[in-house]
């Protein structure tokens, strides 16, 4: 493609003017940059309006410049010249910490405010009991017929989670009625710390190829979470928050950094960059506190993130909308992931080459082009008018958004499944595997990173959608966090829309809306960077 034509040495062929070509080339470059530069300028404007860096004391800027910017630039510059892979590792650790911190905020909203920890624990126990049965049944796979196993599994889950009304309490109910229950922070430590311990333990066991190391890492992850919850209150941090942030953000980042330090000797110097950022921020924060410099009077502050809408822009907050967006995302992911992957598997692995398959194929690409507002009408007409659901709930909002992104999930999953080499399928069939066994053991594991990337990108699209939510009657102003699938829901973009059109005033335009836009874009950036990291990892492995 990129053939070099600038062969200026051959003069005897006559003169060819290079002016047109050069002008054309730079025009093309300018056209390419136009949209990118415009958006960048707009983003700078909105960030300036929201965070207002110029309202901070000069001393504040100077302190952070000395403690954070200078060391980071020095280390980064050194690594960029000497050891680029190490720089990448350092950047990865910093990015991971930032994204996971944001993620832990979301987890805290879900597992502390939306689902009370005791209720969460009761369902975890209620799911663990039948899950144990499934493990046992899988062990005796050969002896028990498949239909019986499916029936037994289904019955176990229903009995455990629903119980038999009047005769037999469900396990979550029994747990909730226990006379002595642990404190909230203990439950969070046990459940979230437990999950973190399992994940970290497996990761360490895999990279060290050593089960004992994995067990030790898992145990220390659990201990660290408990320690944070105990020590947190003495430092003025809420025990629940300490447990969540430690288990979701600090433990995984530490495990990744520690793993890299042990196994990647060439690159581990890159961890210095992460250390410079973390230590620099902490030292800077202590220094400005001690020296009494005031920080920027940002509109994106703790008050904005934790309070509900208000009539005045200064007191307005995004909290119910953040919680609503999280619940909507969970619903959308739970609906669109299995359905989308299922459809993709059918079309790639099962579908016979007939007219109906081709019709589904064309149909999906047309559905991807249907405007989002029409999906909103679909939600309004089908779920509200015909099925009689109340307007604007988490459930129908999630279902409508799931239908909206389903074509995107299907198309990207199909691409990922198509990329699995046919040889691997043939090998599996050659071993006598059935079609489902091939799908389960070969195709899906192999295509999983690609499917995950596509799904996260599609979720990023869903989280920014406003029109379908307006159509299904989601309220413009919501003062309480939605706690159930049937409660009314708001979402971040919907709140931004409400502020910028229904509460249109100079005050909201310059304060609440820019702050909302910055939070929304930060969440999107975090989601997209996860998807891009996954994609790069996936591509480099193949």
């Amino acid at each position: 493609m990129a053939t070099d034509t600038d062969s200026g040495y051959i003069d005897s062929f006559g003169q060819v003017s290079r002016t047109t070509g050069t002008v054309f080339r730079y025009l093309l470059l300018a056209a390419t940059m136009f949209g990118i530069v415009t958006l960048a300028v707009l983003l700078v404007y909105v960030a300036n309006d929201a965070i207002r860096p110029l309202t901070a004391d000069l001393g504040w800027h100077l302190t952070f410049f000395l403690t954070l910017v200078v060391p980071t630039t020095v280390v980064g510059g050194y690594l960029a010249r000497r050891n680029v892979p190490a720089l990448k590792l350092g950047g990865m650790v910093v990015g991971m910490l930032a994204v996971f911190l944001m993620f832990s905020g979301g987890v805290a909203i879900v597992f502390v405010d939306i689902i009370p920890p005791l209720t969460g624990l009761s369902y975890v126990v209620g799911l663990l009991v039948p899950a144990a049965l499934v493990v046992v049944l899988t062990k005796y796979e050969q002896q028990i017929p498949f239909t019986l196993r499916v029936a037994a599994t289904g019955a176990a889950f229903i009995l455990s989670l629903v119980g038999v009304p009047g005769y037999f309490h469900s396990i979550p109910e029994i747990v909730r009625q226990l006379p002595v229950v642990p404190a909230d922070w203990m439950i969070l430590t046990l459940v979230l710390g437990g999950v973190a311990a399992v994940v970290v333990g497996q990761y360490v066991a895999r990279i060290r190829e050593n089960t004992t190391a994995g067990l030790a890492a898992g145990a220390s992850a659990l201990l660290l979470t408990g320690l944070a919850a105990v020590v947190g209150p003495t430092l003025g941090v809420d025990a629940n928050a300490a447990a969540v942030v430690t288990s979701v953000a600090f433990v995984p980042t530490l495990a990744y950094a520690g793993g890299a330090a042990v196994t990647r000797e060439q690159e581990r110097i890159g961890l210095l960059l992460a250390a410079a950022v973390v230590v620099g921020s902490l030292v800077g924060a202590f220094a400005v506190d001690a020296l009494g410099f005031a920080g920027p009077q940002s509109w994106v502050d703790w008050q904005f993130l934790t309070s509900a809408h208000s009539g005045t822009a200064e007191n307005a907050g995004l909290y119910p909308a953040i919680g609503g967006s999280i619940l909507l995302m969970a619903t959308v992911a739970a609906l669109s992931f299995p359905l989308g992957v299922g459809a993709a598997v059918y079309l790639e692995e099962y579908a016979p080459d007939n007219a109906f398959s081709r019709f589904i194929d064309v149909n999906i690409s047309n559905l991807a082009g249907v405007p989002s507002v029409v999906y909103g009408l679909l939600g309004l007409g089908v779920f509200v008018t015909y099925l009689g659901q109340p307007t604007g709930t988490v459930l129908i909002g999630g279902a409508t958004l799931a239908l909206l992104i389903l074509p995107i999930v299907i198309i990207s999953s199909r691409e990922a499944i198509r990329a699995v080499p046919g040889d691997m399928r043939q090998a599996s069939y050659g071993m006598g595997a059935t079609r489902w066994q091939t799908v389960k053991n070969v195709v899906l594991p192999e295509a999983f990173p690609g499917i995950l990337t596509g799904t996260i990108l599609a979720l990023g699209r869903a989280i920014g959608e406003t029109a379908p939510l307006i159509m299904i009657g989601a309220p413009n102003v919501l003062f309480n966090l939605p706690t159930e699938l049937t409660s009314k829901v708001s979402a971040m973009p919907l709140q931004v829309y409400a502020w910028s059109s229904l509460f249109a005033s100079e005050d909201f335009y310059t304060k609440a809306v820019p702050a909302g836009v910055v939070v929304l874009l930060a969440v999107l950036l975090a989601m997209n960077s996860i998807a891009i990291v996954l994609r790069n990892k996936f591509e480099s492995e193949n």
Binding site: M1, I360, V374, L377, L403, M471, S500
Partner: protein
Amino acid sequence: MSTDDLETDLTRNTENAPRELLTRSFFFLCAALSVVTTLSIVGLLITEASKFFTLTAPLMGVTGETASIVDFLTGTTWQIHSQEFGVLALVSSTLMVTIGSAIIALPLGVATAIYLSEYASTQARSVLKPALEILAGVPTVVYGFFALIYITPALEVVFPSIGTFNMLSASIVVGIMIIPMVASISEDAMSAVPDELRQAGYGMGATKFDVSTGIVVPAALSGIFSSFILALSRAIGETMAVTVAAGAQAKFLNPLNPASYLEGALPMTAAMVQLLTGDITGGGLAYRSLFAIGLVLFVITLVMNVISDYVSRRYREAY
């Protein structure tokens, strides 16, 4: 296990074993859901919209207020309170946003595609392509806010008579939003042009400029056209940016008159949002007009998608 058992075990037919049947049916239902979705959209829009028109409402067993289908399709006044439903007032504003965004996005998108496919180094591509994806990834309500708060005041310097809500700023942000769509589909088409054609051009003494404009673009024309149509269909269906930036007052404007871009009007999608954020009653005429607009919008975008598909299939140069 004895050998007999092993033999029956190995030769049993597993195609319709319960597990295979169960999983296959599940996957089939997932795929069939997309057909159900399409059918529901079409069915819902047609039944609800037909309750709106005088001509078809009796067939649906609806009594009460209805609107004439001729007035709907040819009227140029959209006033819900005085029961005037002339969709052309909305269609004209949608057309304006489409034309305005096309003027921005089509040339810039094609130029971007040529640059990425013919000129950019691998390293530049690896930076520029994700950067362009970000343009399409920013939520549209954010674009609407940008148009209202930052772009309109900037335009006011050049055009002092511009309204707070105006079609120009809405067209600009919609144009920026659809650049990546034009660029990525066109670039795919250009990358699919075989290298032999380029080499033949260079062999004839053509410059890179000649090869790009004289060989690559004509050879990729079907893909470029199909990208145009898809991007315009996206611009027509675009909702939140125009709702926030274009205004709330329905007006019939001449799309070919540049001065009318300084005024605000109400595109179809924005009208639908406005109908729902206003206080309309569940089964009233205004509520049913929502589905009539929805049907018009759906038909327009569907026809454009089908045309785009047809163009890229029918006129594709096969190599």
